[in-house]
């Protein structure tokens, strides 16, 4: 291990400049913790300072590997840094009043303890990683999910989470606790990614080799995040190895990919990381099973990061993705629509630790672009393009009793749509929108398991003359073996994704600002959770949630076949309960997730008063999957790792028709020999039917081989092992049924050097 200690005499005046920092008679220790072999920052490392009486002051590193321990009286302390799988660093520190000590630590892997420690560490971490709607997902979590590739994927992991509903294995449409895909905010290194999932829903746009961690905020997120009313997927890439060059390559009938990383220059201050993936479904998997899979995608990611000086860290990230394909099957009644989309994002992030202030400052700038194109059967094309420039500053003040985070942001967004006329009442248009605002988010930490985090966000749209005030609250209370969590908050979404959810296979989305004068979508989140450890290595987490949504944009209910061209405003409410049971033993890992959810939308449409008996009607939307179960068992057997995943989802609603006829407008002398009229769907209430349940068994068997210059991992897997004909969607206009992918065997290889 290595230690770098830098001491700065603080100026009392500066320390007192901020309320709550009047602790000039105290000292502060802060720094970054990295892994010695790679230079990667380590998250969740325990940093403790112990005084002569044995009192412990401590904290854990954040996702940047940064820690702060403040409010320390002058004196001599024992300084200890420990993390599962790494040799503990121990030292002594003598602290003087009014001093900030910068202590950077590099930890060394302790191989002989690793196996045993991993079990222990995961037991500690799993409960802590789930707090009031927020779960931290790491690559190891994704790797446990059996899939066609050696490396796990974020999309596969999310699809087994109890509150997440995936509409089929194509289209990349993820619904989080009742929220629609366009209500989810996806970030990678702070850059917005408008469509974070590939067209084959086993894959996200983020290659697993480049991910460090993903925070999924399924609801109740704090005031750092805004502009979406459902959830936040906050993904962070890892840093490249700044000690040596490394690379890997992998392949399967689904995807081939590679990644490289290594130091930049000779000073070990900078590193790079690059990854690329390309689907080979048409050449690979579809040949295996004689089943056409007309989907293709790729993603490229690159990052350069390093230390600019003792108190500065900078990183540059870039992502580009591309997807195309036809969703559904050609059943002879017309080919499915061709959809294409792309994401491009570049960003820079600068972390700065002022030498004399107990502050961590983060500055970010990013540009994101998203294009979306739909070509339907009659060759007409709809296009939508969205651009976003984002500037933000996030400042964290560290005081003995609380961390106060605040931030400023300013954004410029451009929307260009060529929709071939009206689409959901939105016309083809070019529009520019500006956003600016700030947030304040203090975090009161009482002890390791108890905190309270109120926050407030002011989100202003100068170009629209609108501003929203969003109070939020998060908290956790540890009482003996019991842990209670809770969150609440108000959320608005000025930028809306316009689509037609009547057709589950329709993934075309046009982004636009809410029309002036119309209410913007707004949501209230309430979350209450309970966690505790049970005997026999079982942990239990239960979380109940509520989302009340106003001003939803819903497709109008009309008997005219095909896409509706008008939207109506409605409201929605979501109730749910997520339940998890985790089992961890040295050689066996497993869990059972159960999700209970009910989603109901209500809309008012005067035309329906005669047919329904009331102009106001409510319905379960297509993503209201009432029950979800996923069961995973992973075991080490004969030097191999075997994983079995079974998923069950109760049937989703769909709209059953009473039949199909035609319509003539009888407004006078109608010559029935000359007037052709139009076809009509005689529908009953929206989404009045239920599709068959969904269930699937996936299995994988994996073995690693260590060679002189490389480590090779071989994986055999089967997706949909008993070849269940799970329905993807049913088009009530054409009665076209499309099923999800059948049984697909796969052989995956990965070589790392």
């Amino acid at each position: 291990m290595r230690k770098a200690v830098y001491v700065r005499r603080a100026a009392l005046v500066l320390l007192c400049a901020f309320p709550g920092l009047a602790f000039a008679q105290r000292a502060m220790v802060r720094g970054f913790v990295t892994e010695i072999a790679t230079g990667e920052y380590l998250y969740g490392v325990n940093v403790a300072i112990i005084d002569a009486d044995g009192s412990v002051y401590g904290g854990a590193t954040n996702s940047d590997g940064f820690y702060v321990i403040s409010g320390l009286r002058p004196g001599r302390y024992r300084f200890q840094v420990s993390f599962v799988g790494y040799a503990t660093h121990s030292d002594s520190l003598t602290l003087a009043a009014g001093t900030i000590y910068d202590v950077d630590i590099a930890l060394e892997t302790e191989l002989h303890q690793l196996d045993a420690l991993i079990v222990e560490g995961e037991e500690e971490g799993s409960v802590a990683d789930l707090v009031a709607g927020m779960e931290r997902i790491e690559p190891a979590d994704m790797d446990r999910i059996p899939g066609p590739d050696v490396s796990g994927d974020l999309a596969a992991y999310l699809s087994v989470m109890p509150g997440v509903v995936v509409i089929g294995d194509q289209g990349g449409q993820f619904y989080v606790r009742g929220g629609e895909p366009t209500q989810n905010l996806a970030l990678l290194d702070g850059m917005v990614v408008y469509q974070p999932f590939h067209i084959l829903s086993y894959y996200s746009s983020f290659a697993p080799d480049m991910l460090r961690s993903v925070d999924l905020h399924a609801g109740g997120f704090d005031a750092r995040f805004g502009g979406r009313i459902s959830s936040v997927i906050d993904a962070w890439s890892r840093n490249g190895n700044n000690r040596r060059y490394a690379a890997s390559t992998q392949g399967s009938p689904f995807v081939v990919g590679a990644h490289m990383e290594g130091p930049v220059g000779t000073g070990q201050n900078f590193s790079f990381l690059a990854s690329v993936r390309q689907s080979v479904l048409e050449q690979g998997a579809s040949q295996f099973i004689a089943h056409d899979i007309p989907l293709a995608f790729n993603d490229i990611f690159a990052k350069v990061q390093g230390k600019t000086h003792r108190h500065g860290r900078i990183s540059f990230s870039a992502l580009t993705t591309s997807d195309r394909g036809r969703i559904g099957e050609d059943t002879g009644r017309g080919r499915p629509d061709q959809i294409r989309w792309t994401n491009d994002a570049v960003g820079a992030r600068y972390l700065f630790l002022p030498g004399y202030l107990p502050i961590l400052a983060e500055f970010m700038v990013s540009v994101s672009r998203h294009t979306n194109e739909l070509q339907d059967q009659d060759e007409s094309v709809r296009k939508s393009r969205t651009g976003r420039l984002n500037l933000e500053a996030n400042i964290t003040h560290y005081t003995p009793f609380t961390n106060i985070r605040w931030g400023l942001f300013a954004r410029s967004l451009a929307f260009t749509s060529d929709l071939g006329g009206l689409f959901q009442r939105f016309e083809s248009t070019k529009e520019y929108v500006t956003e600016a605002g700030f947030y304040l988010a203090p975090h009161f930490q009482r002890n390791e398991r108890t905190f309270l985090a109120p926050s407030l966000r002011v989100h202003n749209f100068p170009s629209k003359g609108a501003a929203y005030l969003e109070p939020r609250l998060r908290g956790q209370l540890g009482l003996g073996p019991h842990t209670f969590t809770g969150a609440a908050g108000l959320f608005h979404q000025e930028i809306v994704g316009i689509n037609d959810r009547r057709d589950a296979a329709s993934v075309f989305t046009a982004w636009a600002a809410t029309p002036t004068g119309q209410g913007v979508p707004q949501a209230l989140h309430l979350i209450a959770g309970y966690q505790r450890a049970l005997p026999w290595g079982v942990e239990m987490v239960a979380e109940a949630y509520y989302k009340g949504i106003k001003n939803l944009y819903l497709a109008e209910w009309t008997p005219r076949p095909r896409l509706s061209t008008t939207l109506q405003q409605g409201r929605g409410r979501v109730y749910g309960l997520d339940l998890r049971l985790d089992l961890r033993t040295p050689r066996l890992y497993g869990y059972i997730n159960y999700g209970l959810s009910t989603v109901r939308y209500t809309a008012t449409q005067p035309e329906l008063a005669t047919w329904f008996g009331s102009a106001t009607y409510s319905f379960r939307p297509a993503h209201d999957r009432r029950h979800q179960v996923s069961t995973l068992i992973t075991a080490d057997v004969a030097g191999m790792t075997a994983s079995v995943l079974w998923q069950f989802g109760s049937g989703r609603p769909f709209s059953r028709a009473l039949g199909y006829d035609g319509f003539l407008l009888m407004d006078g002398r109608v010559n029935v020999f000359e007037e052709p009229g139009e076809r009509r769907v005689i529908y009953e209430r929206p989404f009045n039917g239920v599709l068959p349940p969904y269930h699937r068994l996936d299995m994988s068997l994996e073995r690693s081989f260590s060679m002189e210059f490389a480590e090779v991992v071989v994986q055999l897997s089967v997706i949909n092992a008993y070849n269940r004909a799970n329905i993807f969607y049913l088009d009530i206009f054409t009665l076209q049924r499309a099923d999800q992918l059948p049984l697909i065997p796969s052989l995956g290889l990965k070589a790392s050097m």
Partner: protein
């Protein structure tokens, strides 16, 4: 817990073994009908859509329904024939027709019976004979309206006003504004407003208004059955396309009305013409 997991998997597979789905609920309804019985026509016809289980384009094949109309008072029946029509847009449709003239004031029931004996039917009463009465006009400076009472008419549709002049015929289509009274329906001719339109037309054609002479006003309406009234009095296609809205077909959908065209022609008094600014006297 492993046993619990296995039990869940087994029960889930057993519970979820079905993978079939029935996308259409059989409503038991047979046909959707549109048209009207025309008391002035020798052939009656209605458009028929079978209520089907798919949205496929209508095929040029017979529906095979048995269609019989009955005049309820006398019991007189007519068998209707099926014709497949190809429209100008290339689509096909089914029209059922019968050769007879519906009688004023009589009620007819049209029954369409499918091969499985499921039946849709509609009852329609043909309007009685009406007497148009010219009511006193309302006059002012540059203002003239002429109310016409269609005595005993339940409703009217397709209101058209034609002005026969020495410079040509001017036609106006009127909205369905009408006052329904116990003794009939009043339709108001916006005489001065129409006159201003005629003057504008003459100005555009650089023809002198002073030379205009009005010979006759012709008011044509479709006298309609009492049920022929759209919700809110407006023919809004987005509303009327909703199933069950504006429908009088039993065990089916659609609307079948009854009616006939009628005409009233008159030469307005000079005072009415003068009020509307139309020149009078010899040219």
């Amino acid at each position: 817990m492993v046993r619990l997991g296995m039990a869940i998997i087994l029960s889930g597979v057993l519970l979820g073994c079905t993978d079939s789905v029935d996308p259409v609920i059989d409503s038991g309804r047979a046909y959707t009908l549109y048209g009207f019985l025309d008391a002035h026509a020798d052939t009656q016809a209605v458009r028929v859509f079978a209520i089907e289980g798919t949205l496929d384009l209508i095929r040029p094949a017979p529906l095979g329904a048995e269609a019989i109309s009955t005049e309820l008072e006398s019991g007189t029946q007519h068998q209707w024939q099926e014709t497949i029509v190809e429209f100008t847009n290339g689509r096909f449709g089914h029209v059922y027709w019968a050769t007879f003239r519906s009688a004023y004031g009589k009620t007819y029931r049209l029954e369409m019976t499918r091969s499985d004996d499921v039946q849709s039917s509609v009852e329609v009463t043909v309007p009685p004979v009406v007497d148009p009465i010219l009511l006193d006009p309302s006059l002012g400076i540059g203002y003239a309206i002429i109310p016409v009472l269609w005595q005993h008419a339940p409703r009217v549709h397709d209101i058209r006003v034609s002005y026969e002049t020495n410079m040509g015929t001017y036609d106006f289509e009127y909205p369905l504004d009408q006052e329904v009274r116990s003794d009939g329906v009043v339709v108001v001719i916006r005489f001065s407003r129409d006159a201003r339109e005629i003057f504008r037309d003459l100005h555009r054609a650089r023809r002198p208004v002073a030379d205009l002479r009005l010979h006759e006003v012709r008011l044509t309406v479709l006298i309609s059955s009492s049920a022929w009234v759209p919700p809110n009095g407006i023919y809004d296609p987005d509303l009327l396309i909703e199933p069950g809205v504006f429908s009088n077909v039993v065990n089916g959908f659609g609307f079948v009305g009854a009616g006939y065209d009628t005409l009233m022609a008159f030469d307005p008094a000079d005072s009415v013409k003068i009020a509307a600014g139309i020149p009078v006297g010899d040219n």
